[in-house]
Amino acid sequence: MEKVQSASQNWNQALTEVGENRDREQFAALYQHFAPRVKTYLLRFGLSDAQAEELAQEALLQVWRKAEQYHASKAAASTWIFCIARNLFIDQQRSGRGKLEQSTDSYHEHEGLLNHQEQASEDDNSWQSSQKHIEDALKELPLMQAQLVYKSYYQGKSHSEIAADLEIPIGSVKSGLRLAFKKLRLSLAADSFAGGETL
């Protein structure tokens, strides 16, 4: 029986082929799909356009360089690339390069962004359906929990920074994140990009 691969698995395979065969065509596809999203991710942290551009480039260059270390059985390509971008950002902050304005905007100001993909290119329709679970799960969170997820993942804020931002006790930040994680984990378990067991 032929198995239909999800878009997420296609990216996993593309990244695997870059690792195994230095496949440039696959890398170009990965670049076009992920670089603009990594840049948005970095912009959310408060980097300037030029800094975000440079770091997004660096992230994708690392993807090329480290692709041999990628194993589709351990993580989805999107997760692997997320980790690279996150680590680059952390390193940059620690090394003191690039000071940034702390952003204090909140989840609902960006909520719309989760719903529509204005500049979506044609390859996007396919992955949208495969990634439906996490999107739905995020939308189903109570606003406060979505806010906590937003500030953690898109602004890289610590519990006490979030507590100060939202003027709530740290204990509430932690319990809210705990609950949100519980729900998002469940949606992940039902999703394909948590691992390659189905491959």
């Binding site: 993909q117 290119s121 992955w127 953690s152 100060a164 994140l177």
Partner: protein
């Protein structure tokens, strides 16, 4: 699920005689994965993750959420074309990666192998500074930890009883060696205490050996960690 999607910052895995029983809060593991921890808290988590499979799996899940969220971000305009990138790839490929070799650091006897990342922050001939009878500390004051309220190692002599205290800010404690007991149970090497601010406890070091722990307080602005508060009567800190 196995661990380590990328060998970028992760430490090697170790197996303790008995797996850790006290873990960081899920909320803390999420912040580790999302990049929100201060440098001190990240260091502490790195050590715990090196010896705790349970938490490695949790972090892997939290990172998968990050990957899912990345997929959902709108696309920013990249000014660098694929051709530009290929030109850079050519340069990279012709120039083998020159990796800055980390200078191996000497690990003191009291520091377990899985907590190796801590060694890098110890100055040579760094001595324990006595704080109170039975309690001494080494404080990390490198600029990297500027965002932390305090990052320190605490050495507690066998049988020493700490004053009962609560926490105002968030505070993480990792046991490196020895053990202590408090209301939450017995904490041994590898265990993490990640208590909610409103929980009061009174640790008592076990009698057989020194208890050494790494304590990270993430409490900017108005918050105070328990260590400064604890020491106030002795030193007026």
């Amino acid at each position: 699920m196995t661990f380590d999607p990328i060998a970028l910052t992760r430490e090697p895995e170790f197996r303790l005689n008995s797996a850790p029983k006290h873990h960081p809060d899920d909320a803390t593991l999420v912040s580790y994965a999302s990049g929100g921890l201060s440098a001190g808290a990240q260091l502490l988590l790195q050590c715990h993750l090196a010896c705790c499979e349970h938490c490695r799996e949790r972090v892997t899940e939290a990172e998968a959420i990050g990957g899912g969220l990345l997929e959902h971000l709108p696309q920013a305009k990249m000014n660098t074309s694929v051709d530009d990138i290929f030109a850079k790839l050519d340069l990279l490929d012709s120039d083998p990666i020159s990796q800055a070799e980390e200078i191996p650091v000497k690990r003191p006897d009291w520091l377990p192998e899985w907590a190796e990342p801590v060694a890098k922050w110890l100055e040579t001939d760094q001595n324990w500074q006595r704080l109170a009878p039975g309690i001494s500390q080494i404080k990390f004051e490198q600029p990297e930890f500027a965002k932390d309220k305090a990052v320190r190692l605490l050495k507690i002599s066998p049988g020493t009883c700490m004053p009962s205290h609560g926490h105002n800010g968030s505070e993480l404690t990792l046991i490196l060696s020895g053990s202590y007991c408090d209301e939450t149970g017995r904490l041994c090497a590898g265990d993490v205490a990640d208590l909610d601010p409103d929980i009061k406890h009174q640790p008592i070091a076990d009698r057989d050996q020194d208890c050494i722990c790494l304590i990270v307080t993430d409490a900017p602005l108005k918050f105070e960690g328990w260590i400064p508060k604890l020491m106030q009567p002795f030193f007026g800190l």
